[in-house]
């Protein structure tokens, strides 16, 4: 009953006119970002972070969260119609979704994708409500030792599950950690690693860094493939799936929801991994696996449900522990911290409006997305027709304006461009930016907890092994790193990553 009572309170927050408008803006922009290849949710969220300065923290999180799960909906549109995934979590939808479109069944593919996303997103929220609060009650008892070890574990799992090599991932994390230390020492207040540059006195900005690594880098990478897109013609009245489509999709949606929700909690590629896991499971369970890849509706319903349930699940580590499992949630963490709010177990008692308001807004947002994605599909198709040559300069301009408006400092434009260039080189050489960004966000918390733990223990590293949760976390992290060097486990990881 407590949950129901809190949820009603959440709705009273989310249904305030301004929050309702922000929710709509968030899901609208999210769908747009999902539809348009070239800018992903992290870039869009970084772009809009400065806009949130003037609004309440709960309004800011409602809007930014809307962009996140909105992009999960929108990403399927390009996958089905153009065979280009709007974002990484929709890659697997291309396989059968586009085949359905080529067979003249784009409507049911888009329809089941939207309905499946709605059902999974809504059920995922129920899980979020039920798990978050009890987990937070346990997490209240955690000290700096547990937090430090949990952050190390989160970072290691992220690197383990991220595509690319573990060594490179660790190097990225080490670099991100160092970058996060630039500026003011959180304990002594002294300045460090600023190299005499005034622009670095407050540290490297999260917004220019993310905008560079995701926004500018995406554009630079896409400069190589400015190509024409062919869009399958569909009619709006064809959108609704048939009874047979529903019969075939019901179980895949249910299974996708479960897989997505639990994998979404994992740091790193949990969301992307869940879509491939769902696809692989449906293919395995199907009586006609040969239809997969030829336009099987189960191959659309399962993964689309999985990525939306995963987006709900990924909020759990943020709200219950204050630890972001992926870059997008790291940006939400950054947004909360910009408003002076520290996410974690105390959020439920100190700022219940933020957790319950956000959860309630997500129910509303999911319903809005259903309305946005079905009747307005024609509009999204028209947006897809905007040529890259017009789109790219506009995205670059929005990045520049966003970065400048966030700080009013030209230095941040340089930071963004430098990270954009570095991001391009990194991606070309097989270095993923996600470990760098997560380490950058976690860096100050990691440092504070490490230093506090060492001061508490009188300098003994044994404190990290004397507490059960801390010792277990560090042990799992160690096993993850070591396992990547064992040939048999290497092959298994490679299989998981290439399938996922």
């Amino acid at each position: 009953m407590d949950v129901v009572h809190h949820l009603f309170y959440g709705f009273s927050v989310a249904l305030q006119p301004l929050n309702l408008l922000l929710c709509f803006l968030g899901v609208f922009i999210g769908t747009l970002v999902g539809v348009l290849p070239g800018i992903g949710p992290p870039g869009a969220m970084a772009l809009l972070l400065p806009v949130t300065y003037g609004i309440s923290p709960v309004g800011a999180i409602i809007m930014l969260a809307g962009i996140f799960y909105g992009a999960m909906y929108g990403g399927s549109t390009t996958s089905i119609l153009v065979n280009i995934p709007g974002e990484a979590a929709s890659v697997v939808t291309c396989i059968d979704g586009h085949q359905m479109a080529l067979q003249g069944r784009a409507g049911p593919a888009l329809g089941i994708s939207a309905f499946g996303s709605f059902i999974a997103g809504t059920l995922g929220l129920v899980g979020l409500m039920l798990i978050c609060n009890p987990l937070a009650e346990i997490a209240v008892k955690f000290g700096p030792t547990e937090y430090f070890s949990l952050m190390c574990l989160g970072l290691t799992i992220l690197i383990y599950l991220t595509q690319g090599s573990i060594v490179r991932g660790l190097m990225m994390a080490g670099t991100g950690l160092f970058l996060s230390l630039i500026g003011q020492d959180i304990v002594t207040g002294s300045r460090r690693f600023t190299f005499g540059l005034i622009g670095l006195l407050d540290g490297v900005g999260l917004i220019p860094m993310v905008m560079g690594l995701y926004g500018v880098t995406d554009i630079l990478l896409n400069l190589e493939k400015i190509a024409d897109r062919t869009i399958t013609k569909i009619k709006t009245q064809q959108i609704l799936p048939t009874k047979e489509d529903w019969r075939r999709s019901a179980w895949p949606i249910g299974r996708g929801t479960l897989i997505g929700f639990f994998l979404g909690i994992l740091p790193g590629g949990g969301i992307i991994l869940s879509t491939f896991a769902s696809y692989a499971l449906e293919k395995k369970l199907s009586k006609h696996p040969e239809q997969f890849g030829q336009g099987a509706i189960e191959g659309v319903a399962g993964p689309e449900a999985a990525n939306n349930a995963a987006s709900s699940g990924s909020f759990i580590p943020l709200f219950a522990l204050g630890i972001p499992p992926n870059v997008i949630i790291a940006l939400l963490l950054g947004a909360l911290m910009l408003h002076g709010i520290q996410p974690g177990p105390l959020l439920f008692t100190d700022h219940p409006d933020i957790f319950w308001g956000t959860v309630a807004s997500m129910y509303i947002g999911n319903a809005m997305l259903l309305a946005l994605n079905l009747p307005l599909i024609g509009m999204w198709v028209q947006i897809l027709k905007i040529p890259y040559k017009t789109l790219f300069p506009l995205i670059l301009l929005f990045c520049l304006i966003g970065v400048y408006c966030a700080s009013g400092n030209v230095f941040d434009i340089y930071v963004m461009v430098i990270f954009g260039g570095l991001g391009y080189v990194m991606q070309k050489l097989g270095y993923e930016p996600a470990p760098l960004v997560i380490a950058f966000v976690l860096g100050p918390m990691l440092e504070r907890n490490l230093r506090q733990a060492l001061i508490m223990s009188g300098g003994s590293m044994g404190i990290f092994l004397s507490r059960p949760l801390s010792a277990a976390s560090l042990l799992i992290a160690l096993v993850a790193v070591v396992s990547a060097t064992i040939p048999a486990l290497q092959r298994r990881r490679k299989k998981v990553i290439t399938e996922g």
Binding site: L170, M171, T175, L181, E224, L454
Partner: protein, 161 residues
């Protein structure tokens, strides 16, 4: 599998980066285990990076899970549009350089003209089209960000703009 020569170069690069971080951490003050200083965590992260760099030098990338074949075959930049890339990065840096001097409208117009001109196909109308698109973009964004959102964009040496 990573080519050994490239692996060594990358390894030495990261070893160097790690050592620089270590030195910076040491200079900032390591403190002690009982009371870690400002540079303690930086030193540890530098140590991690340099050790991983050495691992690259001596044994290559031991995990070898690199799905992008081009990134490991020494052809990572083959076919990259070098001029487009350098031009784009150059105009973005130029934007930062001139934004506060020339003001938002002039700098944005010049940036957009350069980018549209670069991306639009060659033809009789390229110059006119890119000019019109730049004027429209500058005008609309000025209206949205300066007039409606009051973002305080720089006016530069022409304060009446």
């Amino acid at each position: 599998m990573i080519t050994s020569r490239r692996g060594k170069i990358e390894g030495f690069f990261w070893f160097g980066i790690g050592m620089i971080i270590c030195i910076l951490g040491w200079k900032a003050g390591l403190g002690s285990f009982q009371e870690p200083g400002s540079g303690f965590v930086a030193f540890v992260s530098g140590l991690l990076v340099s050790m991983l760099g050495l691992l690259f030098v001596f044994s290559g990338d031991s995990s070898k899970v690199l799905p992008d074949a081009r990134s490991v075959s020494g052809q990572a930049f083959r076919g990259a549009p070098v001029f487009l890339l350098l031009f784009t990065v150059g105009v973005l840096l130029g934007y930062g350089l001139f934004l506060e001097t020339l003001g938002y409208n002039i700098t944005t117009f010049l940036l957009m003209w350069a980018l549209f001109h670069l991306f639009y196909e060659k033809g009789k109308n390229r110059l006119v089209l890119s000019f019109l698109a730049s004027v429209a973009t500058t005008g609309v964004t000025y209206l949205v960000f300066e007039v409606w959102l009051r973002s305080q964009l720089p006016h530069g040496i022409f304060p009446w703009w």
